[in-house]
Amino acid sequence: MTRYLLRRLFLMGFVFLALSLLAFSLGYLFPGDVVQNVSGLRPIDDNQRQQLISYYQLDQNILQQYLAFLGRITQGDWGLSFSSQQPLLHEIKLLLPATLELAAYALLLSFIIGIPLGILAAFKPDNIIGKSISALAMVGYSLPIFWWGLLLIMFFSLALGWLPSAGRIGVLYEIPHSSGFMLYDILQADINYRNEALHNALQHLFLPTIVLATFPTTVMIRFVRDAMLNVWEQNYIKTARAKGLNRGQVLYRHGLRNALLPVIRQIGLQFSTLITLAMLTEVIFSWPGIGRWLIDSIYQRNYPAIQAGLLVISTMVITINMLTEILHAFFNPLARRG
């Protein structure tokens, strides 16, 4: 296991090296003035320019510049956003929790719904329940998320008026910012309208979570179903049955544990799709997260912000990927050899 971990970490080091090189080169590849792209400051007068060039070591050779870039990134100096002239890292810190919160709930929902449904579909692959679950999963898998989100807004917000159409919480509820995770912030805030605020926040969370959970849920259903069908054919299941265990016992002790192993790995693989979909969901529901911010930045040609957003999101995806790989290896001795 230790050897496996070391090997993984070594690999991760290379990935991050490549990522930092890409992010570094973006400052030069983006159109416009390099000093502006790197610092995010604008407009820049001549006096400032000299200072900035020496601060960012732009007069040095390219290796020096890269090392200086690495130093700044690790020290938390990520430059300024073109549009707000605020430090990027600060902006990202405010926005990232919103995205993580949404993604986490959606992922959780996809487990809660996807795994049982998948098992159910595997048990009765040929009867009406199994077939309709598979059909539903297929439909959900092919739904364009934009269309699906708008449809839900049209139905639940505009036609029925039950749920709000945008945002994280009704704007009239003032929630003091502490962690950035809305539900946590509400619960530990010192306000006399906590219950109402919580209720309101849940209402806001409902549609985006459903929309974002749709895709991972269907993936989960299909994956669990296939894995379960596969495991159910194995000899050790037959042995266990032959030893006299009933179906429930076999399912818990032998079936689930083996079928869910690849699912753990799947979480890591799905995470990057989940983040991409979260960006779309954020746009549809005006969710103030990093995805919407990044898309706005692209529209506004806010290069420093694009660079920082890329760095954060890629780091996040790579880390989660790696963590689930390690977790998978931890549960599955076979994978450690790979």
Partner: protein, 545 residues
């Protein structure tokens, strides 16, 4: 098997129940007090600054001016008269160069989480406010770039010689020359009064930049928080001197997307939406829970040529282009008939309106002849810059540009449509990088000068707000002369001449004066459209159903 199925069905069942509960609960929203008397205004953009002196954008003015600040004098929105604001009375000297204001007693600046005022409003605040604009040695003059667009466009620095506090309650403005639009300029949303004490405190704390970010004024609401691109939160100013502010809380929810703003109005997430799309008015009016308000507004949408750039420096070319445009089609397709065709830049509701101006001609044949005469028998290629945002005076500049592109093709002129993100768009316009631009102007006060000097004077060209890049000494002389007298008859005569002159010179083509619309939830009363500048929300009130 039975066992396992039950096990797996249960979580699904409980999930479904939970969702059903959520949905049902959604039917009866229970609002706490802080939210119940609060009001949500859905704004089309983020404010650029919290100091009205520094901006001209209507979006920003709507959010900050009337809510956070007061002015020395105000306009009565009903008849356009100048009424008392922070100044209770004023005297003008016989030669019209000395204005003495008596200030209101017992007015407090906002007490917020970042500033507690130690004294009441007095004359030093007025001096502080106006010296910031004119005095290069003022500690805040260069803060925020030292650009005061509105004041520069009316040549404020060369007009005001001195602002002097005689005592705590008396302040005197000494002018270089008489200027009949002076009081009107003080009523605009840009002439907000700042706190000198707050300025001193920020200087002592070495945080001068905060003055434009964390505002302190005397207006009906005080600042609470601003989350960029998300919201601006204001609280009621309990000590407001007019004393009749209704909403406890006022939130500006920033929703740049039109359709989304409408959706939020329909789901009651917004109470007020400004500038609903004209195309959707019928749809909105059909709903029982939303009211549409309409009012004539002082504005003009126009097509300005960069008159320093060939071939637009030739009068014949400008005239030809003006003739090539089919306005009737534009009025129908872009304004949906909810606008008056413009003959000149001044709207018909102004007292200086020249009703003798000939109606614009639409004649591609004549336009082609004029072009040939100017030396372009085969036309030329040009850019039309279309602003990327919706404004009252031009609800859809891109569509207008497309229509004009087709019209221009008729006379052999190939037009390219150019657009940028709004902030860079205006920056590039200020540098006069354009050939021609579709933009417009909404009045800040009822004085006709507000249409001439900020739009077409040489001073406005230097400050970048003269989109036609046009500087004509003869025209400047007419409009300056009109400011020297307070006699309305004489002024009117001069403005009629000015309009005639513009008609001849055609630095820009006026297209339409648009109606202003506003959609309000039926449960809110007390909001009216102010024909001069920003929206005022202190009287808005939620009516219990």
């Amino acid at each position: 098997m039975n066992l396992s199925i039950k096990h797996f069905v249960y979580p699904i069942y409980s999930c479904a129940m939970l969702s059903a509960l959520l949905l049902l609960a959604g039917c009866q929203p229970q609002l706490p007090e802080a939210a119940r008397s609060g009001l949500v205004y859905c704004s089309e953009g983020s404010p650029e600054s919290f100091n009205p002196q520094l901006v001209t954008s209507g979006t920003t003015i709507d959010i900050i001016s009337q809510q956070l600040y007061d002015r020395l004098v105000d306009i009565n929105p009903d008849n356009g008269d100048i009424i008392a604001g922070l100044a209770t009375s004023w005297q003008v000297s016989a030669d019209g160069t000395r204005y003495q204001f008596t200030l209101r007693d017992n007015v407090s600046f906002h007490s917020t989480h970042y500033f507690s005022p130690g004294r009441k409003f007095n004359a030093s605040d007025v001096v502080f406010t106006f010296n910031r604009i004119t005095d290069p040695l003022h500690p805040f003059h260069l803060q925020g770039g030292g650009v005061y667009p509105y004041f520069q466009s009316v040549d404020w620095a060369s007009l005001v010689k001195q602002v002097e506090a005689i005592d705590d309650h008396t302040v005197v403005f000494k002018l270089q020359r008489p200027d009949s639009s002076f009081l009107s300029n003080l009523t605009t949303d840009f002439a907000a009064i700042l706190s000198a004490e707050y300025g001193q405190k920020l200087l002592a704390a070495k945080q001068p930049a905060q003055i434009d970010r964390l505002p302190v004024g005397t207006g009906p609401f005080r600042f609470r928080e601003y989350q960029k691109d998300i919201l601006v939160r204001l609280y009621r100013n309990k000590n407001y001197w007019r004393g009749d502010t209704q909403p406890e809380q006022l939130v500006f929810d920033i929703v740049p997307n039109n359709a989304r703003r409408m959706a939020k109005l329909f789901t009651h997430e917004c109470d007020i939406v400004s500038y609903p799309r004209v195309a959707e008015l019928e749809l909105i009016a059909a709903r029982p829970d939303v009211t549409v308000q309409e009012s004539t507004s002082m504005n003009v949408g126009f097509w300005a040529f960069n008159t320093q750039k060939p071939p637009f420096d030739q009068l014949a070319v400008r005239q030809a282009l003006a003739m090539a445009i089919n306005r009737a089609a534009i009025l129908q397709a872009v304004y949906y008939g909810q606008a008056t065709p413009a003959y000149g830049i001044l709207p018909p509701t102004s007292w200086a309106y020249n009703d003798g101006l000939p109606a614009p001609v639409y004649s591609p044949a004549k336009a082609r002849a004029l072009l040939a005469e100017a030396g372009y028998p085969n036309g030329f290629t040009m850019d039309i810059w279309a602003m990327p945002v919706q404004r009252l005076y031009n609800p859809n500049a891109l569509k207008m540009a497309e229509l004009m592109q087709a019209d221009l093709a008729q006379i052999g002129v190939k037009a390219n449509i150019v657009s940028y993100e709004w902030n860079s768009f205006r920056q590039k316009l200020g540098n006069f990088e354009h050939d021609s631009v579709l933009i417009g102007w909404a009045a800040d006060n009822p004085d006709p000068d507000n249409f001439f000097r900020p739009l077409l004077s040489c001073a406005a060209r230097d400050s970048g707000s003269n989109r036609a890049n046009w500087c004509d000494p003869a025209f400047d002389e007419i409009i300056s002369e009109a400011l020297l007298t307070a006699n309305q008859q004489q002024r009117r005569a001069l403005y009629l001449t000015a309009q005639q002159y513009l008609h001849q010179q055609q630095p820009l083509v006026a297209i339409a004066h648009s109606q202003r619309f506003q959609a309000i939830s039926s449960s809110v009363s007390g909001v009216t459209i102010n024909p001069y500048g920003g929206i005022a929300l202190q009287h808005a009130k939620r009516v219990e159903p």
